[in-house]
């Protein structure tokens, strides 16, 4: 086959324009069917300066020869090819055809990112993408006319043949405007309803100025921070080749020149006296409190739950406050008969500032209702009132509070119980039991039992509802829920006793 291919005369394909993708595709397909090697094919663009040099070859074989089998190429190749056809490199047609040929034998070629042809394809596609992106960034419209005659016109010099490919972006963005983008090779015009791609233009065809540019230039120089001069970083993203069509770019040399002095001035200038209005603002908005805050930070004198809750807001009795959002205090009626004590707030409780609103809280709610415990007689709280966690990416992993933290927070639970004077407390899990009883208790062993504290408060011991949620096996989960429901029914009986 290769000997036959080599004997074929050189073929020249004439494309209708620089971005004639359909023309390329049609020709490339026919050539590939005949297995004509890439180096036997020359590609020229009608009207381009170099077109005549390659004239004289055979025209494109347009019929599919007998025995040629239809073939497909990966969609990713077609996508890349549509972009690469916009590149200004005259070799692009040939490269695309060579890869097309190779794809017939190496269908996974494009996945081999280290292949030289694939790398070149990607580099060209990337250059086109970048040029498209920069055009979206650096086109500057100038307004002409007003009212119904208002139009916005821009002059831009892209590196590649991207105007047609990029025009729909400007349509999507500036639908409600009439606009024209002029470039040396092509122009795009949107009249509010229809997009028209036209021939190239000259810079002089675009308006020379726009009143808004004075404001834009003011903005550009004011938003610049002279203490952070990083000229290279600027130029990497906004290469000088674009500057001549950017109204703000002419300010850059002076901004750079003046930056050092400005920054030094700021550093060397001594701080001044406070502004004259400062004292007035301070007196009006931030008056010194008349007396030392009479508020009782530690809650020792609080007589009601709201007073106690307010006192606990700024609690610093252990370091857990520093990572948590807020103190999550107990909630419920002050004449509650039973107090449910959990371990600590979780992620959702920390965010909401309310106890038992997360998955475990919902489970507790459901079971309590099923056990026919009257919610208006229940107060819920936690042994530890700040959320302890380990951050892991976008999640917070619950961490068990240690004995010191439990002890520090007992202060608040003791005061809650002193105000509420319930007839029964329910310890949900080991931490709650430790907090209520002042010592560690084997929960699984003592579950369902009532322990009486020295002060006479009965403490019912059970598991924390989150334990049920962690069981994966659904039968086991159901069984555990059943046991917890039985516990809650026992609580209901104890409440009546």
């Amino acid at each position: 086959m290769s000997a036959l291919a080599k004997s074929l005369p050189r073929i020249t394909i004439r494309l209708a324009g620089q971005t004639d993708f359909d023309g390329w595709r049609k020709a490339a397909r026919a050539l590939a069917m005949r297995e004509i090697p890439a180096d036997q094919v020359g590609w020229v663009v009608s009207g381009a300066a170099s077109a005549d040099l390659f004239d004289g070859g055979d025209p494109c074989p347009d019929a599919v020869p007998n025995g040629g089998t239809a073939f497909t190429v990966p969609r990713s190749f077609m996508e890349a090819a549509e972009a690469v056809i916009c590149h200004s490199d005259p070799e692009r047609f040939s490269l695309l055809y060579r890869i097309l040929l190779r794809l017939r034998r190496e269908p996974d070629l494009l996945k081999i990112a280290s292949d030289t042809d694939v790398r070149r394809l990607e580099a060209m596609a990337k250059a086109v993408r970048r040029d498209i992106h920069k055009m979206r960034a650096f086109v500057r419209f100038r307004r002409i006319g007003s009212g119904a005659e208002e139009r916005h016109v821009a002059w831009f010099e892209p590196q590649h043949f991207i105007v047609e490919r990029n025009a729909p972006f400007f349509v999507r963005r500036f639908t409600g405007m009439r606009w024209t983008i002029l470039t040396p090779c092509a122009s795009a015009d949107w009249d509010g309803e229809r997009l028209a791609i036209g021939p190239g233009a000259a810079r002089a065809d675009a308006p020379a100025e726009d009143d808004a540019e004075a404001l834009w230039r003011t903005y550009f120089s004011s938003i610049f921070n002279p203490a952070r001069l990083k000229v290279k970083a600027m130029q990497a993203e906004m290469p000088k080749k674009y500057w001549r069509n950017l109204p703000e770019a002419s300010l850059i040399p002076d901004l750079i020149r003046g930056a050092e002095d400005k920054a030094r001035d700021m550093i060397q200038k001594l701080p001044t006296e406070p502004a004259p209005h400062h004292a007035r603002v301070k007196a009006r908005h931030w008056p010194e409190p008349d007396v030392e805050p009479g508020s009782d930070d530690e809650g020792a004198n609080a007589r009601t739950i709201p007073e106690l809750r307010a006192a606990a807001e700024g609690c610093r009795r252990c370091p857990l406050w520093s990572d948590a959002t807020q103190t999550v205090f107990g909630e419920g009626p002050e004449n509650a008969i039973v107090v449910f004590v959990g371990e600590q707030p979780g992620d959702q409780e920390d965010i909401a500032g309310k106890p038992f609103v997360g998955p475990a809280g919902k489970m507790l709610d459901a079971v309590v209702v099923e056990a026919e415990v009257d919610r208006s007689e229940v107060y819920v709280t936690n042994g530890v009132k700040h959320f302890k966690f380990e951050p892991r990416g976008k999640r917070r992993i619950h961490a068990k509070p240690n004995a010191g933290e439990v002890k520090a927070c007992r202060w608040w639970l003791d005061r809650e119980l002193a105000i509420l004077k319930p007839s029964l407390a329910v310890a949900l899990g080991a931490t709650a039991a430790q907090s209520l009883l002042g010592k560690t208790v084997p929960i699984t062993k003592m579950r369902g039992q009532v322990v009486e504290r020295e002060d006479g408060l009965r403490v019912f011991l059970t598991i924390h509802p989150s334990y049920i949620l962690r069981i994966r096996e659904s039968a086991d989960k159901e069984a555990e829920r059943g046991r917890f429901l039985a516990d809650m029914k026992a609580v209901k009986r104890l409440m009546a006793a």
Partner: protein
């Protein structure tokens, strides 16, 4: 007071806004004006329409509604005790400026912040009104980022989320102690609760509603925050710890680090020095390691007893040099998590390695074609026909892979 022209106001109120690092216009939901016939669109990535000589991109019209402020945060150019010139835009002026700039393709949208005047609700109310007018009256579909005032009412935050792509609340400084010292009137507790509320609102609205099964629009670009670094003595370890807490707790899209920059008419409470730009850069790199490379915050600085990132080399290389027992890694076998730890291999390169090695075994030169610089990667990998031998453990490895130390171009 003399009446200021629009241009004078713009000069004052953009100068006042430049210390906010964020200019991102990414992360918004895709939308365009084809149906509405208005103007504006947002696509997957943001567009930087210009660059100032400080190397920062200009994507949004970043301005303050006013630089009058009742707070007296010592690091801020707009603090109430500062002698800076004051100005205040009207709602109409901001709307018109945004549209005029947008129509000329200068910007992607608006980033509006403000000093707090009268009350937080008054100020926030005007900011929300600007966003509302742009969206509803002018069918503006460009990007809108509103800096939320932590003390404002929940209703205003909800309205803001309806019109804005992104909302942000600045934590100001990495620690609560820092805020108490340098921004005595700000309450870190309130800031946290505001961020928490924003998160729950964003979570809530991202669920389809029961009735219409569609998602209600609420800040599709999420929330972000900013902290100033170098204004107090907080070490990098504490800063990264704070960031990882913020990402986990409030699901932030970004934490911005803003190197404390000298300001005109600065306060005596602050260091008078050049902004620590390299430190800022290293913090961003470390932040990236936490978010995209699977590094834990404590790992990054585990080998740095002073809790500060190495300014001479990037944090991943620094980590690799002190964890050499893990290397060399075989690029033809190692899993993604491991490959992400190789200095010089970014997320994209790792993806391509994994894809390519399904089809052929990778040689060193193949890896070289995929990444920026093979010199940095070479000592840490094994490839077909390549083993670094003693190179991985050689004493002067840092000198071989690290770039020549160079003076930062500050001035």
């Amino acid at each position: 007071m003399t009446v200021l022209t629009l241009r004078e106001k713009l000069a004052i109120l953009s100068d006042a806004a430049k210390y906010d690092a964020s200019c991102a216009s990414s992360g918004a939901a895709k939308r365009n004006s084809l149906k509405s016939g208005g103007i504006g669109s947002t696509e997957s990535t943001g567009i930087c329409h210009s660059y100032a000589p400080d190397g920062r991109c200009i994507s949004l019209l970043k301005i303050l509604l006013t630089n009058f402020c009742v707070y007296d945060c010592s690091y801020c150019i707009n603090r109430s005790s500062s002698n800076v010139r004051r100005a205040r835009f009207t709602v109409d002026e901001v709307v018109k400026l945004t549209l005029d700039f947008y129509k000329r393709n200068y910007i992607e949208g608006l980033f509006l912040s403000s000093g707090v005047i009268r009350s937080p609700d008054d100020t926030m109310g005007e900011m929300v009104e600007i966003a509302r007018r742009l969206r509803i009256e002018y069918r503006f579909a460009g990007y809108i980022h509103l800096k939320t005032i932590p003390e404002c009412s929940q209703e205003l935050v909800e309205k803001a989320g309806l019109y804005a792509d992104r909302l942000s609340i600045n934590v100001e400084l990495p620690t609560d102690e820092g805020v108490k010292k340098l921004a005595p009137e700000k309450r870190p507790e309130t800031i946290r609760v505001s961020m928490a509320r924003l998160r729950s609102k964003i979570d809530e609205k991202s669920e389809p509603t029961l009735r219409t099964k569609t998602r209600e629009r609420f800040a599709p670009g999420g929330q972000s925050t900013q902290m100033i670094i170098g204004a107090d003595a907080t070490p990098d370890a504490t800063i990264l710890k704070t960031s990882s807490r913020l990402y986990a707790s409030y699901h932030l899209r970004r934490v911005y680090y803003s190197a404390f920059s000298p300001i005109p008419d600065s306060s005596a409470a602050l260091p008078l020095m050049k902004p620590p730009l390299m430190r800022e850069h290293r913090l961003y790199q470390a932040d990236w390691l936490m978010r995209f490379y699977g590094f834990g915050e404590s790992e990054i600085l585990s080998a740095r007893p002073d809790g500060m990132l190495d300014l001479a080399i990037d944090p991943k290389l620094s980590w690799a040099l002190s964890n050499r027992a893990m290397f060399p890694l075989d690029v033809n076998r190692a899993d993604r998590e491991a490959l992400l730890r190789v200095p010089g291999l970014g997320t994209k390169v790792v993806k391509r390695i994994l894809e390519t090695r399904k089809h052929r075994r990778l040689r060193l030169e193949d890896v070289g074609r995929l990444c920026q610089s093979i010199a940095k990667v070479r000592p840490f990998i094994v490839a077909e026909g390549w083993s670094p031998g003693g190179l991985t453990d050689s004493a002067n490895l840092q000198a071989k892979v690290a770039p020549e130390p160079r003076q930062l171009s500050l001035f």
